[in-house]
Every structure is written in structure tokens, then in C-alpha cells.
């Protein structure tokens, strides 16, 4: 794991978890798979009424209108796959930017979305990017590689540890995931 800014807890207030990628392109689907695993771990829709009023959403790619949803939340965590390399996952703050390099027609970066939210919608949303290391990107298939599933489990543990705990019971259950709901052999 790498982290430029160690964080013990995510800030309070409405939280958006936005996982993106193509579930039909193997480990490119790590972002949506993370969302599915997070829903399972948090017990279905219970997260919506929790202390974070958390919204969990998956998408094929980031689009400019995501800036509007980002602006509706105090904090956003972008979840995406990263290409094979050292480490298991990264968790880093995102600085808003509207440099041209942050946007193309077919994709936008978290920094670009944050920049649009700030500049056009007056948002002061805190942003983080959770990058989960994948291992297999070269073909078609609605499944994750073994290494991606392992990294997903570690990233999910890390993320849920950052969530606050509700009075009387923890928000997060301790059941380890095995890629339930995301593996389609």
C-alpha cells in the first residue's frame, strides 16, 4: 500500500464512493467490484442511513456530470484499477485541477472532476483516490484475476477502517471478502 497522506478517519458528512471501470474487461472492473464488495460488507443499503450518509455508485468511466454529484457531498473517494506494478493499492488525496491534461472526450480524471465541481459549482469537497492494483487487463471477461481479488480485499479492509463507527455497533463487519458478487466465472 502507498499513501501520500496517512489518514486515520474520513471526514464526517455525506460521502460519495465512486468506483469506475469496465467489468467486462477483467481487472479494469476493480472499481465497480469494490463498490459491490463494499455494499455487501456494509449490509445492503444500510450505508445510506449511516453516519456518512454514504452513496456508493459505480460507472464505466468518469463523466463531466459527475462533478454535480461530487458537489453534493462533503467527501468523495474515487476507486479505480491501476496497472500491474509494485504494491497492492494506493490511497491519496486528490487536488482539484482543470488543466487540459485532466480531461479528454472519453475519460476524465478525478482531479478534473474535482476541478469542475470547484470552479463551476462552488464545491469544497474533499477528494481521495483509491487505486487498486490489477494483474490482468489484456482481454474480455467478467471476472477478476486472483491477484486483483487479493488486492481488492486488502483495499476494502483499509477503506472500511477509515469509516467512523456508529454508536453501539461498528459500521463495518469483520467478515473477510473473497470477491463475492464480483467474480463471474
Amino acid at each position: 500500500m502507498t499513501s501520500a497522506s496517512p489518514l486515520s478517519r474520513l471526514p464526517p458528512g455525506p460521502l460519495l464512493v465512486l468506483g469506475y471501470g469496465n467489468p467486462g474487461r477483467l481487472d479494469d472492473g476493480l472499481g465497480p467490484a469494490f463498490c459491490e464488495a463494499l455494499r455487501l460488507r456494509l449490509g445492503g443499503d444500510a450505508h445510506r442511513a449511516g453516519p456518512h450518509r454514504m452513496t456508493i455508485r459505480d460507472a464505466f468511466q468518469l463523466n463531466v456530470e459527475d462533478a454535480a454529484e461530487v458537489a453534493d457531498h462533503d467527501c468523495v473517494v474515487f476507486v479505480d484499477a491501476t496497472l500491474p506494478g509494485p504494491g497492492t493499492f494506493s490511497f491519496e488525496p486528490v487536488t482539484p485541477s482543470t488543466r487540459r491534461a485532466e480531461f479528454t472526450t472519453h475519460s476524465a480524471t478525478p482531479a478534473g472532476i474535482m476541478g469542475l465541481a470547484r470552479d463551476l459549482l462552488g464545491a469544497d469537497t474533499q477528494g481521495y483516490a483509491l487505486g487498486i492494483r490489477g494483474g490482468e487487463f489484456g482481454g474480455f471477461g467478467e471476472r477478476l484475476s486472483p491477484v486483483a481479488r487479493c488486492h481488492l480485499a486488502l483495499a476494502l479492509d483499509h477503506f472500511t477502517a477509515l469509516l467512523p463507527r456508529q454508536e453501539g455497533r461498528p459500521t463495518v463487519c469483520a467478515t473477510p471478502i473473497r470477491g463475492e458478487g464480483v467474480h463471474h466465472d
Binding site: A59, F60, Q61, V64, A68, R99, R100, G112, L116
Partner: protein, 487 residues
Amino acid sequence: MNPVLQTDTERIVIEPVTRVEGHGKVTIHRDAEGRVAQARLHIVEFRGFERFIQGRPYWEMPVAVQRLCGICPVSHHLCAAKAVDLLVGGESLTPTAEKIRRLMHYGQFFQSHALHFFHLASPDLLFGFDADPVDRNVLGVAAAHPELARQGILMRKWGQEIIQATAGKKVHGTGAIPGGVNRSLTREERDTLRAPVSHMLTWAREALELARGYTLENLPDVGHFGDFESNYLALVRADGAMDIYDGELRAIDPRGEILLQEPDSQRYLDVIAEEVRPWSYMKFPYLKPLGPEEGWYRVGPLARVNACDFIDTPEAEEARQEFKGLAGGGPVHHTMAYHWARMIELLHCAEVIQRLLDDDDLLGAELRTEGPRRRREGVGILEAPRGTLFHHYRVGDDDLVTRCNLIVSTTSNNEGMNRSVTQVAKQRMEGVDRITEGMMNEVEVAIRAYDPCLSCATHALGQMPLIVELVDEGGDVLDRRARSGGS
């Protein structure tokens, strides 16, 4: 590989065409005197979706076929549902089912047209075709026209929320099922969608005014930019009104005379045929009675506004009448007028959505109808944002699909886009020694006016760099320019 490469010409390649959905490339051949001998829009990837779904059960089609595209999946979702309605005896939907489907469809149109105008086309219109590409993108629009960019984002968001409420998801939803829908709206959902309607109407009027003003102010240039007469094809209601969800196929000639009107969608093959050309994976449809030489046609906003007799919402109808006045009441042939026509439709969609959201049928509980199965074959036709869309399925006794034919909107504009590319190339690139980035963009501007979805037309994935090469007779590269895709 291009089979028509000639040894005594130079060849210019634009790959990929940017700020369109999906990927294609343009090749332009110039002869020894620098005259444009040939210009073509190539679709470089292969779809094969019709073959892929053979052997699948018919009830999967509305969900499976929309995977063709992440841009306008609702069109494929609903068109497939219309086709399989016929297989289950569901020709006549309940009022709730039809209105939920229509709301989904008009919501999709609204967000798709907003996306194209604000994010893809407006940089060209606001900054000029040859403006610095560093600024000629949506972020440049955000910096110079922040309120416009903000409106574009929020209009797109509203359309996506309508899709989510009616289809279950913003992309690849499941709302339409054979014979109906699987959900209606709660009163709370309906009221949430209705809250921003007045803003959307205001912003749609402003976008229409921007497109109208641009066209009229630049008519001397716009009127000769990738411009030519053509036939047009669109669905119209039986009384001649614009209808993007259901209707009769109508084709008009360049003077606006009705060439044909087919009330039975199941007979579309009596009307449409497709020609295959060896240099493209995208077919060239034509009106069968006229043949491939005379029967090619254009579809999409320009075709719909040209082909209908009226629009049944007041503000859009007023805008249509002014639009048609540009050509003395006949069809408007300017390729760049696609933008104006598209914004007339944007306003029309906002008006229709407002009307639908005031209708309590959206809250109804009768979601599905089914009758005795009478058919083993079904054809669905609707207007997608980019033009007329055809889905045709044949199933066996085991309910598995044995044949599928899809004619997507962009395919119908294949000939028109190629003619526009050729004309702009002749206007801008003949006799010049050096190809500039602005010249390249002008070719793309002509293609962009059609809002092509090359992903639909071919099923493309990925992103490639844009490379333009100017090559002499001997094959030596005289000039080469490259930029990253997606600008």
C-alpha cells in the same frame, strides 16, 4: 490497410476522429497537383454483434444488446424491447408502460443532445474551428463560459437521473421488458424529477438560441461547409408529427416531397437495403425503391425536423417553423444546421418530459401486457438521438435467436458523412503545401455535426493517438502531426 492507395497521390490520415463517440479515421488522397482525389471516413473496427447474440433467448435482448454502446444504451434497450414485444403478443402496452418508456427515451435524448452540444460541439462554435486546441475543449468552455458549462453539466445530470428512475441504472438499465416495464415511478421520484423542469426549459431555450444565432450569424460560411442536398429518413406519427419513440417510416426527397411512408415497421426491408463497400466495416443503407446511387439518405435531428409536418409541443414547433423558413419551407440541407435542429429537439424533449411528469399514469401499477404468441419474428424501430434505429430478431421454436439485424443511426449517415468530409477536404486542403491542425479540425467539425456514434456502428473500444501524415508520390512523409486522442 487502404485498398485504394494510388502511387501518384499523397495520402493524409486523421486517426482517430476526435470529440465523437467511438473511433474512426479519415484518409484524404491528393493528386500530384494537390487536388483532392478522394476523401473517406473509415470505420476501422468490427462489430459483429448480430452474430454474437445468435443462440441467446429472445428475452435477454433488451438487456444484452444495449451493451453495444455506453453512450446511448437506452435506444438499443427500448428498440430491442419493441421488437420482442411482438414476440409475446405485447403490441399494445399499458398506458403506464408506454409512458415510462417514453420518459426514459426523452430523458436519454435530452442528456445525449446536451452532452453533444455543450461538451463536444460548443468548443468549435464558441472559439472557432481553428482556435488553439489547448482551449478548444470543454474545459476551455468552462473557463470562458462557466455558466454555459454549468448548465451543460446539470442538464446532462437531469437526463441521467430520469434514465436511472425509469431504467434502474444510468447506464445499461433493465426497465423495459418484453410486453412492458418492470417499474413505475413513486410519487416522490416523480416530484424529484419534476422540481428542476423550469430550469431545464429555460436552459434549453438558451441553448437553442445559441445554436440558432450561430447558424444565422455564420450563414455565409455555414451554408457552404460540408453542404449538399440529400434525401431524409425519420419516423413520424400517423398525423405527421415528430415522434421519436414510435411511428411510421417517412422518406422525403431534397425538395421535401414524400418519397414513401411505411406504416408497418415489420416491412422495413421493403424500404431499406444496405450496400457493402470493401474499404469500410460500416454498411451504406439506401432507400430500396431508388437504389444505392439515388437512394442514400440522412437521419438524425436534421432529418427529423425536415421530415415531420409539425412538432406537437408549442415552443419547439415555433422554432421548427423559423428553422424551415431558412429554406423557404423546404428541407434545410446545411450540415452545420444539425446543431440548430438538435437544439430544437432538446427543447421539444424538455416540453414532453414536463408533460409526462404531470401525468399520473407514470405512477400506475399495470406494467405489463401479454397476449397469445403469434410471431417468431419482430422488428423494432425508433429514433435514437443520432437517427433512425432498427432492431430485427427471428427466433426458433426453442425461443433462441436465430437471426439478428441491426441498422444503427450512424450507419445511415455513412454516405452523408463521407460526402461532407470530401467537400470540406476540397474546400480547405486543395493546393496547400502544409496541413494545419485547424484544417484537420475542420474535417472533424463536419463529421461532428452528425454526432456519430462510431461505437454503435462498429463496437469500438480503446483510445488511439491522432496522427496526420502528408505523404508524397514516392511515399516519403512530407509533414506529420500527432496529438493525443479525445481532445
